[in-house]
C-alpha cells in the first residue's frame, strides 16, 4: 500500500514541481524500497525514456555509478546514459541495479501507468481502455492523477469511464458513487461496458441494480443497431465486390448481348497482372510498392482488354446472333485460359501484397471499418461512374450505344461497327481486369479465381436487368446487403442458397430483371 501512496503523492506532485528530486537517483541504491520508490517515481514522471529504463531494470541491464549516482543501460557490450540515451564510455566501477519479485511487480504496474502519463494522447487512451477492461483497482490513484492532468476531451472521457468501472468493482465505494459511475459506462455502450454493468446484478442497493439494468438495456439496443449497421456495411462491401465482378459483364452481356463465360477469367487475368506488377516492383523498384495497385490498374485493363479483343476478333464475331453457341465457345476459352495460367503460374495461390494505405481499420461511431474494404467500395463506385461517363459522354460510348441499338442504321451513318464491337468487348473485358486488381486484395489469386465470380456476376446482371448499368448497381448492392443481413440468421451457405433461389423465382416473375428495357427492342 505504501507503494501506491508514494505513487499517488508523486503523481500529484509531479506536475507541480517538475524539478523535484529526480527519481533516477533512487535507483542508485542497494535498498529495494528505494528502488521501488524509483520505479514509482519514474512511472509518474512521464519521461519518454522511462519505458526503456524500466525494461532494462527488469532484464538486469540497468547499472549505476556509485560515485555520482548516474544510471547506465547496457545493451550488449555497449553502454549508454539512461537519462539521455547518449552513448557512454565503458566503466569498470558500475554496480547492477537489482530487482526482486516485488520490484518486478512494481515495474509491471508502472509500465501500464506510464502509458497513462504518456505525452501521446493515443497511448493514454489505450492505457485507459486497458484499465477499463481489466478493472484493476490498483490503477485508481494513477487514473485520478491522469484525470486531473488530462486536457484532451476524448482521452478524458475514456479515463472517466475507466475510473467509473474501477469504482464499481472497488470494495467500499459508496452507493452514491456507484450510481454516478453508471452513466459514463452506459455512455461508452460497448460489450465491455455491458460486462461492467452486468457485474452489478448482485449489488445490495436496489437503485444501483435498477440503474444498471436500464443501462444494460440501453446498451443492448445500441449494440443491436450497431450490429445491423455493421451488417449493412458488410453487405455494401460484398455488393461492391459483386458490382466490380459484374460490371464488365454488364457491358459484354448487358449491352452487347454476348454470353461471355470467360468473363471470370478476365478478372483472373487482372489479378495475375497485379501479381506480376508487384513482383516486378519488388525486384526492380521496391520504393514504388505503395503505388503497385495504381500501376496495376492500367496494366490489368490493357492485358484483359487485349485478350478480350482477341477473343472477339477470332471467335465471338462469327457467333453474333447465336447466344447459346457463344456461351459454349467462350466457356471453352475460359477453360483454356485457366489451364494456361495454371501451366505458367502453377495451381497454387499467389501472394498479392496490400500497400500500406489499404491495411488497417478505423472506428466509425463504433463500426469497425477495414480500410481495404473501404477502398474497394470507393473503387467500385469510381469504376461504375467512370464507365457511365465513357458510355454517356464520349464519342466512343455514343457509337457503342448506336451500334447496339440499331446496327444497320449505325453502319449507314458511317460507324465501323466491327471495330466498335471489338472495342466494346475489349472495354468490358478490361473493366473485368480492373476488377481483378481489386479482388486480388480480398480473394485468393489462383487459376480458379474467376470461376467463383462468374455465376454471381451473371445473376447480378440478369437480376438488375440486361442492358441497364443502374440496374447492375442496384442489383449488386441489394443482393450484397440482403445476403449479409440474412447471414446471421441462416449461416453463410443457406443465405447464399436463398439468394440463388430468390433470383430463380424472381426471373419467373420479371424475366427481364429489375430495370427492364422497354419497347420494341426487347422483343427482337
Amino acid at each position: 500500500m505504501t507503494r501506491f501512496l508514494a505513487l499517488l503523492l508523486l503523481l500529484i506532485a509531479a506536475p507541480a514541481c517538475a524539478q523535484a528530486p529526480s527519481p533516477y537517483e533512487k535507483f542508485a541504491s542497494d535498498n529495494y524500497s528505494d528502488i521501488d520508490a524509483g520505479v514509482a517515481g519514474l512511472a509518474a514522471s512521464g519521461d519518454p525514456r522511462a519505458g526503456d529504463i524500466l525494461a532494462a531494470l527488469s532484464d538486469g541491464r540497468l547499472f549505476y555509478r556509485p560515485a555520482d549516482k548516474t544510471l547506465f543501460i547496457k545493451q550488449g557490450p555497449a553502454l549508454s546514459d539512461a537519462r539521455t540515451g547518449a552513448p557512454a564510455p565503458a566503466d569498470d566501477g558500475l554496480k547492477l541495479v537489482r530487482a526482486n519479485t516485488r520490484i518486478r511487480r512494481a515495474i509491471e504496474a508502472a509500465q501500464g501507468q506510464l502509458n497513462l502519463a504518456s505525452p501521446n494522447a493515443g497511448r493514454r487512451r489505450e492505457a485507459a481502455d486497458a484499465v477499463f477492461k481489466a478493472r484493476d483497482v490498483a490503477a485508481l490513484p494513477a487514473l485520478d492523477a491522469a484525470l486531473a492532468r488530462e486536457t484532451d476531451a476524448s482521452v478524458k472521457r475514456t479515463l472517466t469511464e475507466a475510473r467509473a468501472a474501477v469504482l464499481l468493482v472497488k470494495p467500499g465505494t459508496s452507493e452514491g458513487d456507484r450510481l454516478s459511475a453508471i452513466p459514463p459506462i452506459q455512455a461508452r455502450g460497448d460489450g465491455d461496458a455491458m460486462g461492467a454493468l452486468r457485474g452489478l446484478s448482485a449489488d445490495p442497493s436496489e437503485a444501483v441494480r435498477a440503474a444498471a439494468a436500464k443501462g444494460i438495456a440501453a446498451i443492448e439496443t445500441k449494440l443491436a443497431l450497431l450490429n445491423a449497421a455493421q451488417n449493412v456495411w458488410y453487405g455494401v462491401s460484398l455488393g461492391s465486390v459483386l458490382l466490380l465482378a459484374a460490371i464488365g459483364l454488364a457491358i459484354t452481356f448487358g449491352v452487347m448481348g454476348v454470353i461471355n463465360m470467360a468473363h471470370g477469367e478476365m478478372v483472373m487475368l487482372g489479378a495475375y497482372t497485379t501479381f506480376l506488377v508487384q513482383e516486378l516492383i519488388r525486384a526492380k523498384a521496391p520504393g514504388l510498392f505503395g503505388w503497385s495497385l495504381a500501376i496495376s490498374i492500367p496494366c490489368a485493363f490493357v492485358v484483359a482488354g487485349a485478350v478480350g479483343v482477341l477473343i472477339e476478333r477470332f471467335i465471338i464475331r462469327f457467333l453474333y446472333g447465336r447466344p447459346l453457341e457463344t456461351l459454349l465457345a467462350t466457356f471453352g476459352v475460359s477453360l483454356a485460359l485457366q489451364q494456361t495460367v495454371r501451366s505458367i503460374f502453377g495451381p497454387t495461390n499467389r501472394e498479392v501484397g496490400a500497400p500500406a494505405f489499404m491495411s488497417g481499420a478505423f472506428d466509425l461511431f463504433g463500426l469497425s471499418v477495414t480500410l481495404g474494404r473501404m477502398w474497394i467500395v470507393a473503387f467500385s463506385i469510381a469504376v461504375f461512374f467512370g464507365l457511365m461517363f465513357v458510355l454517356r459522354k464520349t464519342s466512343f460510348g455514343l457509337k457503342t450505344r448506336a451500334v447496339t441499338q440499331n446496327r444497320r442504321m449505325a453502319a449507314a451513318m458511317g460507324i465501323r461497327t466491327p471495330y466498335v464491337d471489338a472495342m466494346t468487348f475489349g472495354l468490358g473485358s478490361g473493366i473485368a481486369g480492373i476488377a481483378g486488381v481489386a479482388l486480388s486484395q480480398i480473394d485468393n489469386v489462383s487459376p480458379n479465381l474467376g470461376q467463383s465470380y462468374i455465376i454471381d456476376s451473371f445473376l447480378v446482371v440478369v437480376f438488375g436487368g440486361v442492358g441497364s448499368l443502374w440496374g447492375t448497381l442496384v442489383a449488386a448492392l441489394t443482393l450484397g446487403v440482403a445476403n449479409k443481413l440474412a447471414e446471421p440468421y441462416f449461416g453463410a451457405v443457406l443465405a447464399k442458397i436463398g439468394m440463388l433461389v430468390f433470383i430463380i423465382l424472381f426471373i419467373q416473375k420479371r424475366p427481364r430483371g429489375l430495370f427492364a428495357l422497354k419497347g420494341r427492342a426487347v422483343e427482337s
Binding site: I455, L500, P511
Partner: protein, 383 residues
C-alpha cells in the same frame, strides 16, 4: 410430311452397335481368363459402363436442347439427384457392416451424432422405393422448375443462366453436413445392391449391360417422343415458339413434359453411374459438369439423339486417354473442342453426316443453323 419411322437407319446402326457392345464386352471379360490377350479387365468394363451412363445423360440433354431449344446448364443436377437416390439405397444396404457397425445409421451419421434416421431417408432400404425416387425426385424438380420457367416464358440465355443457378444452389446445399447426405464426402463405401456385391466381377458386368439396356430404352423413348405428333410440335416450338403459340398450342406444356422426361432420364443415368464408380458427392452438381455434358451433345450433333450418345462416349474416351497421358493438356483440348465445334462443326459429327448423306428429309429435323452475317445480328433468332 410422311410419318417418320420410329427407328431409322442410323437408329438401327446405333441399337445394333449397342447390342454388340453389350455382348462383346461381357464376353471378353468373363469368357477369357485374366492374363489372356483377349481378356478385358473388370475396371475397363466399369469405365465403359460409365461412358454409357454419360451417353444416357447426353441423350436426355439432347431431348431438350436439340428438340425444344432449351439449353439446360443444370442437367448435372438431375443426374446427381438420381445418383443420390441410388446412393441412399446403397448406404442403407451396408447395414451393420459399416465402420461403426450401426444397423440403421450410415457411418457419417454416427460420426455426426445423429440419433435417428432423417425422415427423407425412410424407405430407401427398399430397392423398389429407391428406384421410384430415382425417377420421381429429378422428375418432380424438372417438372416444378420447368413449369415455373416455361409458364413465365423464360427462354434462351435467361433459362440457361437460371438452370446453372439451380445446380449451383443444389451443390452448395449438398455440401452442407446438415443436409444429412454426407456433406462434401458424399456417399460411398457401398457393399451390395439387391444382394449382389458391388465389387464383384459378375455385378460389374451385369450393371454394364443394364446401363446399355437403359440407354437403348432411353433412345427409344426419346425417339418415340420426337417422331410422334408431339415431337413435331416440339420442333415447331424450338424453331418458332411465338408462331406455334399463335397457332393455338401451349408451348409451355410441351416444353415442361419434355423437360420432365429428360430430367428423369438424367436421373436414371445418375443412378446407373453411382454403383459403377462407387461414390456420389456434391461435386457432381458442379456447373462445369453440366456444361461439359452440353459439349458432348454438341460434338456428337445436337438434335440427332444418336449423335449425343456418340459424343458423350467419344469425348469421355478422349478425356480418359488425355488425362492419362498429358494431364495438363486435357483442359486445353476440351476448351479447343468447345471453340472448334461451335465455329466449324455446328451440327456435330452425326448432324454433319446426316446433312451430307441423309438427304433433305433427314436434315429437316435438325435445328436450324443460323446463317446470319454479324451485321444483321439483332434481327436473328432469339435463342
Amino acid at each position: 410430311m410422311a410419318r417418320t419411322r420410329l427407328i431409322d437407319p442410323k437408329g438401327w446402326i446405333f441399337l445394333a452397335a449397342l447390342a454388340a457392345i453389350c455382348v462383346i464386352v461381357p464376353l471378353l471379360n468373363l469368357g477369357f481368363p485374366p492374363g489372356s490377350a483377349l481378356h478385358l479387365p473388370t475396371y475397363l468394363v466399369s469405365l465403359f459402363g460409365k461412358y454409357l451412363a454419360f451417353a444416357l445423360l447426353a441423350l436426355a440433354l439432347d431431348l431438350v436442347w436439340g428438340f425444344c431449344g432449351i439449353l439446360s446448364l443444370g442437367h448435372g443436377a438431375f443426374f446427381a439427384l438420381g445418383g443420390y437416390a441410388m446412393g441412399m439405397y446403397l448406404m442403407r444396404q451396408i447395414g451393420s457392416r459399416g465402420v461403426y457397425g450401426n444397423p440403421i445409421l450410415p457411418d457419417f451419421m454416427v460420426f455426426l451424432n445423429y440419433k435417428d434416421l432423417p425422415w427423407y431417408w425412410l424407405g430407401f432400404d427398399h430397392f423398389a422405393f429407391a428406384a421410384l425416387m430415382v425417377l420421381a425426385v429429378p422428375g418432380l424438380l424438372g417438372f416444378v422448375f420447368g413449369w415455373l420457367a416455361f409458364r413465365s416464358r423464360v427462354t434462351g440465355v435467361y433459362l440457361s443462366i437460371i438452370t446453372q443457378a439451380l445446380t449451383y444452389a443444389l451443390m452448395l446445399a449438398f455440401f452442407r453436413n446438415d443436409m444429412g447426405l454426407g456433406g462434401n464426402n458424399g456417399l460411398t463405401d457401398f457393399k451390395d445392391l439387391l444382394g449382389f456385391n458391388v465389387q464383384a466381377q459378375g455385378f460389374r458386368v451385369s450393371i454394364f449391360v443394364a446401363t446399355g439396356v437403359a440407354l437403348a430404352i432411353g433412345y427409344l423413348i426419346a425417339r418415340f417422343m420426337t417422331v410422334s405428333a408431339y415431337g413435331k410440335i416440339l420442333i415447331a416450338v424450338r424453331d418458332a415458339e411465338s408462331r406455334t403459340r399463335f397457332l393455338g398450342y401451349r408451348p409451355e406444356h410441351f416444353k415442361t413434359l419434355a423437360f420432365t422426361i429428360s430430367a428423369m432420364m438424367a436421373g436414371v443415368a445418375g443412378a446407373l453411374y453411382v454403383p459403377q464408380v462407387g461414390i456420389i458427392n456434391p461435386g457432381e452438381f458442379a456447373p462445369t459438369n453440366s456444361i461439359e455434358a452440353v459439349i458432348w451433345v454438341a460434338v456428337g450433333g445436337r438434335g440427332t439423339l444418336v449423335g449425343a450418345a456418340l459424343g458423350a462416349v467419344v469425348v469421355n474416351y478422349a478425356k480418359t486417354v488425355l488425362t492419362g497421358v498429358m494431364p495438363d493438356a486435357w483442359l486445353f483440348a476440351l476448351g479447343a473442342l468447345f471453340v472448334v465445334v461451335t465455329l466449324f462443326l455446328p451440327r456435330g459429327i452425326v448432324g454433319t453426316a446426316m446433312e451430307k448423306f441423309g438427304g433433305r428429309r433427314a436434315a429437316a429435323t435438325l435445328p436450324p443453323e443460323p446463317e446470319i452475317p454479324p451485321q444483321l445480328a439483332e434481327e436473328g433468332q432469339g435463342s
